[in-house]
Amino acid sequence: MIAMTNDAAIAAEGLSKRFGDVVALDRIDLSVPAGTVLGLLGPNGAGKTTVVRILTTIIRPDSGRAWVLGHDVVREANAVRYRIGLAGQYAAVDGNLTGRENLRLIGRLTQIPRRFIAPRADELLERFQLADAADRVVRTYSGGMRRRLDLAAALVHQPPVLFLDEPTTGLDPQGRLELWEVIRELVAEGTTVLLTTQYLEEADRLSHRIVVVDRGQIIAEGTPAELKARLGSTVIEVGLANETEALRAEQLLARFGSGCGRDGTTICLQVSDGTRVLVDVLRALDSEDLVPVSLSVREPSLDDAFLTLTGRRVEVPAIPEPDTVATRGAA
């Protein structure tokens, strides 16, 4: 899976990075075709942010190489910087400036011709529903507004490649949906996006391809459909009255999907077409006179995915992601 540096908008080969004794990245390969979205999925401390910081020229890899639109992120860092936008969970905007001033500042620093800066800022404020708050100091913005401004700031110079580091972490469901919509629009306009997320659902909804990382290594990758085929797109949990019934039900239902364990009287099933299978499951149980005492249908979480891929639960890392610690204290 050698990166096709000529065709791919973003490519990486063997990226490795250590922070002291902590291996943040261990030989990561990536290839993101132009105009597509790559979802980098993984738990806290998996190395997602480190990948983004290397690709956006903020830090250098210890070894390996990476390219954005064919430009080497280390040797041609400045050429890369003209072509990328970066937005993230920290909403790196200046609290003492107004929304408009923030965007104009970024406009100047991204070297846009002067006459385009003001109209571009206005256009973005309008698009991100910040026009009314444009002349308010950002300190007074809500979390969602800050996040929208942060994304707007990443788009000032119309970068063809966009990096979004956990763009919806900490947003409420409404804010998340709005942001997803914006990302879809950008992709429809031809932008290439690399986004990191801890949410399987988010990666599924937005990405053309998903790369699952854990402890600095890629542990799975594919299209959302491929990964879901592997993981099951829906988790059905059926609780029964006692263990005998649960054992019978487990055998009975095995043909509908892959089992994801029995916990006492509750059996778990990962299936690929949830709603249709659910009807079959209930029919099968009914035909054997098995009456469930509880029933739940849910999307698989990152936790389920990890259990399937690695055989273990997502760990709360003992050491927080070193790159974020180094830059932002306990943030």
Binding site: F19, L105, L109, I112, P160
Partner: protein, 271 residues
């Protein structure tokens, strides 16, 4: 990739070719941004001016009567020292400002932009120089109000203030380095104090050094705050100024020569 996005990008790339004008423009943009903070958070400016005003009042009216200086007027001796002390205290703001930017992730964004690498540090120190111009002018006004008089000429007085501002700019680079190393605004302030206190107090800023023990006199007489205070004294009270002015400029040049590369190196290595 759509052709639209590539087309939209083309003029931007061409603009980026002009390197030198872009560095100047980036430094200006960052300076403007830092100065706006003083307008938006006036407390930053108020607190950095209240402290020197209190020093003036304290030394003029509380300690001044007990301090013997050559010549008649302690306030004329005091104010040049106050100017030097003010800009050093002010330079601490450079450390706090940089550490704050590191913490908010703003510097992280700046590092991903096609801007001049020098702009963050140059813009920070330039903004602090502009703030010092304001604070020093204010202190001069306070000085005149409590009886300070210039015995030479307006030109020499302005030259003295200019020397102080150069001196303050120099220390902004020292504290920029401190801020980048400690990375936390409060720690930056705490770390700056032990650097600052001996320079400000073991000096001729507030008292003549000849009452100090011999070993301390040696330091107190030649250290940068003292020679700068002495130079400004000579420029406002009269007397031979050349030697002290040159010593102060030499200190500033020497400190810049060490700390500009050190701060830049530290900034580039900041991950």
């Amino acid at each position: 990739m759509s052709l639209n996005t590539l087309a939209a990008l083309a003029p931007i790339q061409h603009h980026g070719l002009g390197r030198i004008p872009s560095a100047a423009s980036d430094i200006l943009a960052v300076t403007w941004r830092n100065l706006l903070a003083y307008r938006r958070v006036p407390q930053l400016l108020v607190f950095s001016t209240i402290q020197p005003v209190i020093f003036v009042l304290l030394f003029r009216y509380v300690f001044g009567g007990a301090i013997r200086v050559r010549g008649d007027s302690y306030v004329d001796f005091l104010m040049p020292g106050i100017f030097a002390q003010t800009v050093i205290f002010g330079a601490m703001g450079t450390a706090v400002g940089l550490a704050t930017d590191l913490n908010t992730g703003l510097l992280e964004r700046f590092r991903s932009l096609p801007m001049a690498r020098s702009a963050v540090l140059a813009g920070r120190t330039a903004a602090d120089l502009a703030r010092n111009v304001f604070v020093v002018a204010l202190m001069a006004a306070v000085g005149f109000a409590v009886g300070f008089r210039v015995h030479t000429s307006a030109l020499e007085f302005v030259a003295g203030l200019g020397l102080v501002l150069i001196f303050g700019y120099t220390f902004s680079w020292v504290f920029a380095t401190v801020g980048l190393i400690v990375r936390d605004p409060e720690a930056a302030q705490a770390a700056a104090f032990p650097v600052m206190a001996p320079l400000v107090f073991a000096s001729s800023a507030f008292v003549p050094v000849d009452t100090m023990p011999g070993w301390l006199q040696l330091f107190a007489e030649h250290q940068p705050v003292s020679v700068t205070a002495s130079a400004v004294r000579a420029l406002t009270l009269g007397g031979p100024a050349t030697s002290d002015v040159l010593q102060s400029l030499a200190w500033s040049a020497g400190i810049l020569l060490v700390f500009v590369p050190l701060a830049v190196w530290r900034y580039q290595r900041t991950t």
